[in-house]
Symmetry: C2
Subunit: 471 residues, 2 copies
Amino acid sequence: MSNAPDTVVRAFVEDHRDAFLHDLAEWLRIPSVSADPGRADDVRRSARWLADKLAATGFPTVEVWETPGAPAVFAEWPSGDPQAPTVLVYGHHDVQPAAREDGWHTDPFEPVVTDGRMYARGAADDKGQVFFHTLGIRAHLAATGRTAPAVNLKLLIEGEEESGSPNFPGLVRARAERLACDAVIVSDTGMWSEDTPTVCTGMRGLTDCQIDLYGPDQDIHSGSFGGAVPNPALEAARLAAALHDADRRVAIPGFYDGVVELTDEERELLAELPFDEARWLRTAHSHATLGEAGHTTLERVWARPTAEVNGISGGYQGPGGKTIVPSRAQLKLSFRLVAGQDADAVQKAVTAWVADRLPAGVRHEITFWGATRPCLTPLDHPALQSVVRAMGRAFGQRVRFTREGGSGPAADLQDVLGVPVLFLGISVPSDGWHAPNEKVELDLLMKGVETAAYLWDDLARHWRPAAAPDA
Amino acid sequence: MSNAPDTVVRAFVEDHRDAFLHDLAEWLRIPSVSADPGRADDVRRSARWLADKLAATGFPTVEVWETPGAPAVFAEWPSGDPQAPTVLVYGHHDVQPAAREDGWHTDPFEPVVTDGRMYARGAADDKGQVFFHTLGIRAHLAATGRTAPAVNLKLLIEGEEESGSPNFPGLVRARAERLACDAVIVSDTGMWSEDTPTVCTGMRGLTDCQIDLYGPDQDIHSGSFGGAVPNPALEAARLAAALHDADRRVAIPGFYDGVVELTDEERELLAELPFDEARWLRTAHSHATLGEAGHTTLERVWARPTAEVNGISGGYQGPGGKTIVPSRAQLKLSFRLVAGQDADAVQKAVTAWVADRLPAGVRHEITFWGATRPCLTPLDHPALQSVVRAMGRAFGQRVRFTREGGSGPAADLQDVLGVPVLFLGISVPSDGWHAPNEKVELDLLMKGVETAAYLWDDLARHWRPAAAPDA
């Protein structure tokens, strides 16, 4: 790769930086808080604002897609090359609630630039990281002399991500034909730290359930009957305790079936990240690490499936004591899943395991709330390699790999569209997502612009998914 | 034992039956509900009524003892024989709440006699069983020609038993000298069934506690951190699950230290009771039996110590799911104790066991609410033998043995006065203690009168505790 295009990109980005930040600030002034019904008009205004800006950027097709809730913005810019890959960029234009009295030093909806940072609700999550694509594509065109991007570019910027994306799966299913693509690039994540650019290669999946246990028909006297009848609170505890073996591996038969294990290379790469346990524990508000034997903390949260007790209850919970055998108990469990695990199979395994373990005299009901599939892109996937190269050029540094322990709407795109999901983010842990004084580092934001500028050309050069549908 | 006194007793009891039932009904009309502050005057009136009746019965000393709550009644009738044993009868004159709309077929405070039963709140628990002593002692005097009972007789009839006896331990400690005796006879229990007269030989003790577990400083995201930090709800469950081994024996080291095991004779005697599991399960509102391996249901509830989960809570308990690692959890445990166990030692064992089992990163606090000691009278104790003989004469049947799984204020008498506690009761499970339509079987009630009539003479003849302080 010659250096010439990089020089052009950098000069273009530098020239347009002030106007870009001015426009971003204008967008950030729109308090598009999707969780607040009183802000519905602002969320709508935010969608309109973005649609206008994407049209001005040059996207020939820009549409505001209505949902039963807040609208999403869709934009499309064909490449003109019949062999070019089609890429869908995902992000969101709604933001978390924010109020001065929550601890903000300045008005959360009046952006302030200080010490190379822009402070505002949505600066990093996710308006800044959506908006860098607008300047990125213009820099891409300027550097390559093209009039259309090297890939078929689509954008889907939803308006309810901060409210749990209730209408997103439906929208994606309804619009699947328009959204058809070869890969999704999620532009709503972060990287390891200011000094360590990284690309996320996958997210964990999730399925969660509630187990209701019924013992005696009413609370009974622990003196008259205790020790001779089953106690559903004890049985709930025994179930929870049996979730893990002595090595804190999940002990449900079949749970690990199909799990894609970390390769030696991936383990080495993760181990190279500058992990500071004390600092990580502060982020976790926790006082010690504990998890599956034989794995590091990062492996445990990013690449290993888990069983977690989200809630447990049964019997007396007021002040003092009450000597009863309780009538009922309840357990809320969640299971994080990794690539290769099948959520339906896990639900079946959990259901069978619960039924097997309860003694006579304890009736139970199990209810699953849903399932989000895990996603994982192999390190050698050509599209992932392009993201890494583009980011490496922008940062002038080796790019490392992370994963994400949580689960998100990206998995809906993966499932419905049947394509790999990639992650491109320049946010850092100190950006304060969902917290007061959210900010974005302007240097990193401009590296995001630069990465987006390099990415489309690199993808078009190195990936021909249409030519190799079996790849 | 000649039959002559029995004939005299029976004739005396028969002659005075109507007047006795008339008086009892008068007492039952006083709604001495200790739990209802609006009935405080009625509880006081009930104490006064009983005091007057005991004085009329012949007790030379009758006193109403005030407490910070409801008053107790104390009465004393010395034998005149310096070698006679001193016996303290315990009962209570307060009753459970009752209202017609709870399902009573008649006014709970207007006694009705039908089919040989008297229906009224307190008929069995405990006014009927206190009151049979008044006619019993008169029959004893009539049959023996004495002017004072063969034993030194004391009565302590408290007024707050149905409210948890909050002032009873303090009263007993403050009046210990007046209450000094060789044995306590608790007249507030029942027997196996109408057809199977029994004597209770002991009650289980109790200690209970709350364990608070603290993990992360706040609820944290189960995707970002789950599987890598300790979860206090899981640890609470693991503690509860570790209370028992695979045989459902309590697994806390030292828990069974000192336990007085059932003798072969006791096990055989308990096995002779006509136990109907289906019927017992209905009483327990339960759908199966489950408990310590190697023991019958009756052994489990009467003679074996237990660890029970009274309550467990932690994390999310609302509708649906919430994927968190909770910050806190709480466990409420109770331990029933049997003779030979030391409550302080059990508390220490539990405390050490909890501290040993929790992983780093989970802080805990343990709070014990209190301790009630177990009590047990050996089958060959001369006073117990007297109770069995007196009851056998009244019922004309072999008397068997039971125990009581619960724990009660009798233990306070045992502990403070340092004497054995015996139990004499003629109530049966169908009497409906604490339930609507409480009743007493009049035939059984008159057997109680008769038992009390035989008991004092038998005790004086066969037991000389003062002469053998080391017995």
